[in-house]
């Protein structure tokens, strides 16, 4: 089944760009790794796929948003960590970053903002105003991600 019959109405929208990038990443993944059904392998593949999805999403959005930058930074650090085994240093970095980032919670009405900060990548160092802005963008991107992935899944299984 080809995707050509589903021509997008807006070729530059986030949805189409994400779809294209995600599919490319998936193709690359499938080429590299063989299909196996052992538990550990599947879990590993899940993580890779999720990573691919997040990475493609973030790269589509680009550096315009704080959350996309934070996500890309996290992914790259993770790659660094896996590759160079500099775990100790990265852990120290993470701790330092958490401590130094601070939690600018000013208004009591936004006590739940702390939960939101943990959810949105890169949310720890933002103030409420920009946090809400980032959350809106993040929600939009997540919904497109879900839609695209669901469509792909439907396409490939029917």
């Amino acid at each position: 089944m080809t995707l050509h019959q589903h021509l997008p109405s807006n070729p530059r929208s986030i949805k189409t760009r994400f779809a294209i990038r995600f599919l490319q990443t998936l193709k690359r993944l499938n080429k590299n790794r063989p299909i196996s059904s052992s538990l550990r392998e599947i879990h590993g593949r899940y993580r890779i796929v999720k990573l691919a999805a997040d990475a493609s999403m973030a790269s589509v959005v680009g550096s315009r948003r704080v959350w996309s930058r934070a996500l890309l930074w996290k992914i790259r650090n993770r790659a660094l960590r896996c590759n160079s085994m500099k775990r100790k240093r990265i852990h120290a970095l993470r701790v330092r970053r958490r401590g130094g980032g601070g939690h600018p919670t000013r208004e009591s009405g936004f006590g739940q903002a702390n939960d939101l900060r943990k959810l949105v990548p890169g949310g720890e160092v933002m103030d409420i105003c920009s946090l809400l802005d980032e959350t809106a963008d993040y929600i939009k991107c997540l919904t497109t991600q879900v839609q695209v992935m669901r469509n792909i899944a439907d396409l490939y299984t029917s």
Binding site: I42, Y46, L142, V146
Partner: protein, 453 residues
């Protein structure tokens, strides 16, 4: 000075409104509007058009405001009420429209009751001057006074002729004032007032005296007015307001910069929340805290969906095992609860047989006798759900015919558990098709059946 107190209030409010309006650029269009709406009924209107056309747009904020109480007292009060009610932006637009009307009617009103209006006008001018003098800055209050006073003859002039009335005295004196400048103008005004107050008898002579200067001064006052109002516009923020506050705030709002910043921040947050409300479904909550909760839940739900979808892409149902712990602990109230458990069992279904099913059934039956809740929890832990037999049979028959995602849809309704992506579902439905028959027979007695979705 009882009757003057109200006027003073009106004047105060209007002059302070001037401070507010000075920064706004929206009155630039009043210039054109004013001209277009002005019906030149007489030669006096031509004079006025000349005057008005020569004025720069920036002068408008000062002139109309000051002229209105002088044109008609009621207008001043109206404006005060208006200014208190509306926003800056809408205020200016509304005031512009009102001012046009007042401008046009002011001339008429003055024409109607000229003596009274003139007297009231003179009293107001006196108040203006006295206030301006007491403020200490003579230049700018005279600028304000000038602008106010200058406009008055214009409006008054529209109503009647330039000869033979008290107004003309004031006209002449005020026209003279910008030429004299500074303190001299104030004194000249005072002289003019005192002269005019004495009686109308002198008015005619003075009118003639001033008539010519009026005609000649049309060019000069125009330019002077050009200079004075902008100067007054800029200086009014300084001199008359130095003894008072910088910006007269609207009713019920503070004026120090901290609270203004606070207000801006709150407004920004409010508009962001509104934008979020549109994105998140079930956004009918008006409370900020509950809205935030809703947002948090929705973000969690979306992230979960991405996780599940990415897993199903590989058909790796077993990889969802770590999610089961998340699922049971999270209250993410949407459909994916128990989904992880279900697909977790998919790996088992490949090798499972009816034995496990019957064992499970017995256990569930035992638990149900004691406590429904624990039974449900046990089932959820196994990744199973309870559904009516009719539904189970329907599903099994449906899945027998097609392995499509269509089969997942009836399952969405079962016990509020939603369907994950199709690959894992298709695997399970095949199993359930075979299992369903067996379990259907076994549990015919029960009202419900335990079945693998």
């Amino acid at each position: 000075m009882q009757p003057c107190s109200r006027e003073m209030q009106a004047l105060n409010s209007l002059l302070n409104q001037q401070d507010l309006q000075n920064g706004q650029q929206q009155i630039s269009n009043t210039h054109q509007i004013h001209q277009s709406h002005f019906d030149p009924t007489s030669s006096h209107d031509d004079f006025l058009d000349q005057m008005l056309s020569s004025l720069p747009p920036s002068s408008w904020p000062d002139l109309p405001f000051a002229s209105n109480p002088i044109g008609s007292l009621a207008a001043g009060h109206k404006l005060q009420d208006l200014s208190d009610q509306f926003d800056d932006q809408s205020q200016s637009a509304l005031l512009v429209s009102k001012l046009r009307q007042h401008q046009i009617s002011g001339g008429g009103a003055v024409a109607g009751n000229s003596p009274a209006a003139a007297k009231a006008f003179l009293l107001q001018q006196q108040l203006l001057l006295s206030r301006g003098l007491s403020a200490g800055g003579l230049r700018s209050p005279t600028g304000a006074g000038d602008s106010g006073i200058l406009q008055m003859p214009l409006s008054l002039g529209t109503g009647e002729g330039f000869d033979g009335s008290q107004n003309n005295v004031v006209d002449g004196s005020s026209f003279k004032s910008p030429n004299l400048g500074g303190e001299g103008s104030v004194e000249a005004l005072y002289n003019g007032f005192s002269g005019s107050l004495h009686g109308t008898g002198q008015a005619s002579s003075q009118a003639q005296h001033f008539h010519h200067p009026q005609v000649q001064n049309f060019g000069a006052p125009a330019t002077a007015m050009n200079q004075a109002p902008p100067a007054s516009g800029s200086a009014e923020g300084g001199a008359p307001s130095q003894p008072r506050q910088r910006v007269r705030a609207r009713r019920g709002q503070a004026t120090d910069p901290h609270s203004i910043a606070e207000r801006l921040r709150r407004e920004r947050i409010a508009e962001r929340m509104k934008a979020l409300q549109e994105l998140v479904p079930n956004a009918n909550k008006t409370d900020k805290a509950s809205m935030l909760d809703e947002i948090i839940d929705y973000v969690k739900f979306l992230q979960l969906q991405v996780k599940v979808l990415s897993m199903s892409r590989l058909g790796g149902a077993a990889a969802v095992a770590p999610l089961v712990a998340d699922m049971s602990s999270e209250g993410s109230g949407d459909c994916l609860q128990g989904n992880g458990g279900r697909s977790c069992n998919a790996a088992q279904t490949a090798s499972s047989s009816n034995d496990t099913m019957t064992v499970t059934e017995h256990q569930v039956a035992k638990l149900m006798e004691e406590d429904m809740g624990s039974a449900m929890q046990y089932l959820q832990g196994k990744g199973l759900c309870l559904m009516p037999i009719s539904l189970a049979t329907a599903i099994s028959t449906a899945t027998c015919h097609s392995r499509n995602t269509i089969a997942t849809n009836p399952l969405l309704g079962s016990n509020g558990e939603g369907g994950p992506s199709s690959p894992s579902m298709s695997v399970l439905t095949v199993q359930s098709a075979t299992m369903g028959n067996g379990s259907g027979d076994a549990s015919v007695k029960d009202a419900t059946s335990v079945s693998k979705p």
